[in-house]
């Protein structure tokens, strides 16, 4: 199981780059995913876990939830502001505090969210630096 997971994780960027080498934006996305994985391992892993499965009752899973694959602005805001309210996913409640990760650069946030949106069985479009910058600017008010 562990091995399969590792192979899957490693193969995600390869598959993506192999499929879409001709188009520059997709190649950019593959590179973003690779960079995003590093950010994930450093800042997200301890709570959301290697498989994105989270921790029952405490830290929400990142696997196929609308929080991850849905509204990009909401997702970027979770990273910038943290999350300190109970969230219900598939009938389970998660209540641990997520601290703001606003010390991360726009590029790091774009990368890690692109990685999360394309890992753990998720499939989503990339989050760009421009999108993060825009949300952060409004966030400050």
């Amino acid at each position: 199981m562990k091995r399969i997971l590792v192979i899957l994780l490693l193969s995600v960027p390869f598959c993506l780059s192999a499929q879409t080498k001709k188009t520059a934006p997709a190649a950019g996305m593959a590179a973003s995913i690779t960079r995003g994985q590093k950010v994930y391992l450093q800042y997200c892993l301890s709570c959301h876990q290697l498989d994105g499965g989270g921790v029952p009752n405490l830290n929400p899973p990142l696997v196929k939830t609308s929080y991850v694959t849905g509204d990009k602005v909401r997702l970027i805001k979770v990273v910038l502001n943290g999350f300190a309210q109970n969230v219900n996913i598939d009938g389970e409640s998660y209540s641990n505090n997520m601290p703001p990760q606003n010390m991360l650069k726009d590029q790091e946030i774009a990368d890690v969210l692109t990685y999360v949106r394309n890992s753990f069985s998720n499939k989503g479009t990339a989050i760009t630096v421009a999108q993060v910058k825009a949300v952060r600017a409004k966030n400050k008010k």
Binding site: M1, K2, L41, Y43, L45, S46, C47, Q49, L50, D51, G53, G54, V55, P56, N57, L58, N59, P61, G82, A84, Q85, N86, S95, N96, N97, M98, P99, P100, M103
Partner: protein, 427 residues
């Protein structure tokens, strides 16, 4: 002739009768282990069975001499926060009902009352001579208005022998940081939340509607307690602390991910009135056996804390989450287990990227009411996987412990709601 009759007829009949009596006695306690011991790995001579699966998050439990089991649920199921079961002679139990429309953890029976907690209140239910709850719908509320944050909100409880009840009130923060779990976030000066949380409070067990002003902060500096028990040998309260998280993610310059997986210790404390176990100002390093200043309060990972803080009675690896503590006062298990402590470790999450740890029941030997000798894993295999890399992989997680009248050890599972019973089978 007479002696022949005795020899050839009466003796075999007598033998048969004796055998039948012995068999009947055995059948009376016809509890047998499940094939494969319900998935648990146990020391030689022990067996286990699944008493029931209640399909809900089973927290603490009590078992009566009459074979009734009361289980507290984290969340009510179909409006019932306490599930009742009754055991058959083979040890398997059927759900007989439920009551109490509140989730929670605490459950304890003492002197004709069953005590149960929501996350803010404590109730008690009078029992009849058969240890059945007399009025399920109208418990006495003995304590109300306790603080409950979004973490460490559950209330565990135990009684002493003088009609006092002890309640854990967990701290609503992991390390009393300005920004909970934040990178480089400092401690809140003095951590004022300790006035009403982060400790054990003592109340009267027989007085109604008590609030903070009626109780005593019995011991402080305890981040969160889930497992606790009263030690009858030295008449003292023992508690298991859940230590802080995030040493590496908050202070990556001071703690490696490996150090952060092992530290701080999950501590067992023997408490006396007025004790201060030091959270959030210090943590205990079980490898160096030192009390260390928390980084949020001026520590560098090595600086030693004020000696005034309470020494742990025993210490275990970090983040294993001790959710149940039970002193074994039964007679079924061999001598070495008598008056020792069983600890249900719910299992870690804050050890990633290291493999997770816990998900087992540990035995801590005791001598004269104090830990004596190294702890050992007693029951494992709850998780159903060889190595838990991510907590959501665990099929079952041990939580509450209870002692059966025959000396069996009961364990709850708060993932899928198995009730396990561990028996000693060797004669």
């Amino acid at each position: 002739m007479k002696s022949k009759l005795l020899k050839y007829i009466i003796t075999p009949i007598l033998g048969l009768v004796i055998c039948t009596i012995i068999y009947a006695l055995k059948a009376d306690n016809g509890v047998v282990a499940d094939a494969g011991n319900a998935g648990l790995k146990l020391p030689e001579g022990f067996g286990a069975l699944t008493v029931a699966n209640i399909g809900a998050k089973a927290r603490h439990l009590s078992v009566t001499p009459q074979g009734d089991i009361y289980v507290k649920l984290a969340k009510p199921k179909e409006g019932k926060g306490i599930i009742t079961l009754h055991e058959g002679s083979n040890g398997k139990a059927e759900i007989t009902g439920g009551f109490g429309n509140y989730g929670g953890t605490g459950m304890y029976i003492k002197d004709g009352y069953m005590y149960a907690s929501s996350n803010t209140e404590i109730f008690r239910y009078k029992l009849d001579a058969q240890n059945k709850v007399i009025d399920q719908e109208h418990p006495e509320r003995i304590i109300m208005g306790l603080k409950a944050g979004r973490q460490h909100e559950t209330k565990s409880l135990v009684l002493d022998n003088e009609d006092n009840i002890y309640i854990n009130i967990g701290a609503p923060l992991s390390a009393c940081q300005v920004q909970d779990r934040g990178l480089h976030s400092p401690g809140i000066p003095g951590c004022p939340l300790l006035d009403s949380a982060g400790g054990i409070w003592q109340f009267k067990a027989n007085k109604l509607n008590q609030t903070y002003k009626d109780g005593v902060r019995y011991a402080t500096g305890l981040r969160n307690i889930v497992g606790l028990d009263w030690n009858q040998q030295d008449n003292q309260l023992f508690v298991m602390q859940h230590g802080r998280d995030n040493l590496n993610s908050s202070w990556p310059e001071l703690f490696t991910t490996k150090e952060s997986a092992e530290l701080p210790a999950e501590c067992m404390y023997a408490l006396k009135k007025g004790d201060d176990a030091g959270w959030p100002f210090m943590f205990y390093n079980q490898i160096t056996h030192k009390k260390i200043v928390m980084p949020e309060y001026g520590g560098d990972g090595k600086k030693e804390a004020d000696a005034k803080y309470l020494e742990p009675a025993a210490a275990y690896p970090g983040h294993m989450a001790p959710n149940g503590l039970l002193f074994y006062t039964g007679k079924m298990f061999p001598e070495k287990y008598r008056n020792g402590a069983f600890i249900a470790f719910h299992g870690s999450w804050n050890r990633a990227p290291e493999p997770q740890k816990g998900y087992c029941v540990v035995f801590q030997p005791f001598k004269n009411g104090k830990p004596a000798g190294d702890w050992e894993v007693f029951a494992e295999g709850f998780a159903g996987v060889d190595e838990v890399k991510s907590p959501s992989q665990a099929q079952h997680r041990p939580c509450g412990l209870a002692l059966g009248i025959d000396g069996s050890l009961y364990v709850t599972d708060d993932v899928k709601g198995n009730i396990y019973r561990i028996i000693y089978t060797k004669k």
